[in-house]
């Protein structure tokens, strides 16, 4: 390799960049050969993106959507973890909640959203609550699995040394659940932002979902792509800048044998 990229991370970045360039090239080529309203060329999308950014519209709607994503995500993660851990640790709690969990798992996202809007009105709280409720059962199931896999020997050690509940949670229980948090956070973020767009489309007057719906009415494919791409880019950045470093930090103690 001419630039001498040695590290695995560097190689991965180069490969990813290369495949993106090829995709855009092919896209531009196809758009040039058969121009159509439904497949604008990359530069048209770039122009639309530039307009939306300079006008301040895209940053504003992106901000609205991201606020909803983080609120719903945090709500689902904290509530779901607490319920999941309780269900995994105590049989009685598990038996009491298991049925509701199965119901919630099988309820389509759309049904929850419509019910939330009809019962609680087209409000911000209903929107965020509906998204969180969609994500909740997955978090519960994952963390219940984690709580069931807790090491009973360490639990016994904690009891032998009379550790307080707080210490037990912070030093014994939660560290064992890190991989389960990471798994549900990762799948959760992807699920939450997809559902947030639906919620916005159905009952909000701002956010990416609202904008996409508007451009759909106008049949403006360039703007739709501009919004979609910028949003995916933001979520990708969140994954790489927040989730992955967190996971690496939490896994510091693992000895790499491979």
């Amino acid at each position: 390799m001419p630039m001498g990229v040695r590290s695995a991370a560097g190689r991965r970045t180069v490969t990813a960049g290369l495949s993106a360039v090829i995709l855009i090239g092919v896209w531009g080529l196809v758009a040039a050969i058969s121009p159509s309203r439904t497949l604008p060329a990359p530069w048209e999308v770039a122009t639309a993106l530039g307009d939306e950014i300079t006008s301040g519209r895209l940053p504003w709607h992106l901000f609205c959507t991201l606020s909803r994503v983080s609120a719903a995500f945090l709500l689902a993660m904290s509530l779901g973890s607490a319920i999941g851990i309780a269900m995994g640790r105590h049989r009685a709690v598990n038996e009491a909640l298991d049925l509701w969990l199965v119901v919630l798992l099988n309820l389509p996202a759309l049904v929850i959203i419509i019910m939330a809007y009809m019962w609680f009105g087209l409000t911000e709280a209903a929107a965020i609550g509906a998204v969180a409720l969609n994500k909740l059962p997955n978090v519960v199931v994952t963390l219940r699995e984690g709580a069931r896999a807790l090491d009973p020997d360490l639990d016994q050690m904690a009891r032998a040394f009379r550790l307080s509940w707080r210490k037990r949670m912070a030093h014994v229980v939660l560290p064992q659940l890190t991989p389960y948090f990471a798994a549900s956070a990762r799948s959760g973020l992807a699920l939450v932002w997809k559902i947030v767009l639906v919620v916005e489309l159905l009952g909000r007057s701002n956010g990416i979902g609202f904008q996409l719906n508007m451009f759909f009415q106008l049949f403006d494919m360039a703007s739709i792509l501009a919004y979609a791409i910028s949003f995916v880019a933001v979520m990708l950045a969140a994954e790489m800048l927040i989730l992955q470093p967190f996971e690496r930090r939490a896994n510091r103690w693992r000895v790499r044998t491979a």
Binding site: Q156, A160, F161, L163, K167, H171, P175, V255
Partner: protein
């Protein structure tokens, strides 16, 4: 603490993996005088670990009773080190302290030959070193009751000797009640002032010997002589 600790297990069964039950201990009564160092010797699987767990109040699912003051500080060295793999050596020890910020652990760390290891994670330690950390953790809380479940296995003889000396010092200093489970009769003869021999499963007391001679006066010859005598009297139980 001056009352003796009492343990009576009428019956302790475990649920087997296929739903059946395994009887681990039946009709075992033990009393441990406060301030004494007792060694328990018995064949593998006779229920020593099970009995210690019940004594320490870690297992309530048994028939019988335990007499142990509720505020007893128990320093438990488990048969496996049981350290938190995601905490460093020093944090593993600090974790069990009531006032971790004011405690000075340097003397303990030094005595156990752990200096320089403080920032390592347990996964980076050999089993022998991990055992020392587990011992440090148990001694750090200045326990009223020190429970040692085969703490010196997989250590080389020199290290084991040093650690036994440490345990002895800690025991003397605070007049801790100590219970040591071991398969090593020499170890028991060096440390304990009382040796209880247990029969194979279900555990039953075969012999209860007091050793009057203070630990520091026990010579190698004394230990060997006692051992030979015990091997003769209880062949099969003592090696």
């Amino acid at each position: 603490m001056s009352e003796p600790l009492e343990l009576h297990i009428a019956r302790k069964t475990y649920r087997g993996a296929e739903g059946g039950t395994v009887e681990a201990v039946r009709d075992l009564s033990l009393a441990f005088d406060s301030g004494r160092f007792t060694a328990l010797i018995g064949p593998s699987g006779c229920g020593k670990t099970t009995s210690l767990r019940i004594l320490a109040g870690l297992d309530h699912d048994f028939e019988g009773r335990v007499k142990l003051p509720a505020d007893t500080r128990i320093g438990f060295v488990f048969q496996e080190p049981r350290l938190l793999p995601w905490r460093t050596v020093i944090d593993n020890i600090r974790l069990v302290l009531d006032a971790p910020d004011t405690a000075d652990l340097t003397p303990l760390i030094d005595e156990l030959g752990l200096s320089g290891m403080e920032r390592k994670f347990p996964t980076e330690l050999s089993l022998g070193l991990a055992r020392r950390v587990a011992l440090a953790r148990a001694l750090a809380i200045a326990p009223d009751l020190l429970i040692l479940d085969e703490p010196f296995t997989s250590l080389d003889e020199t290290t084991a000797l040093r650690l036994r000396q440490m345990v002895l010092t800690a025991w003397k200093r605070r007049h801790t009640t100590a219970i040591l489970v071991t398969h090593n009769i020499r170890e028991a003869l060096q440390l304990a002032d009382r040796i209880i021999l247990l029969a194979p499963s279900p555990a039953r007391v075969v012999a209860d010997l007091g050793i009057g001679l203070p630990q520091e006066e026990r010579t190698e010859a004394f230990v060997e002589e006692m051992r030979t005598k015990m091997v003769r009297d209880w062949p099969g139980l003592v090696a």
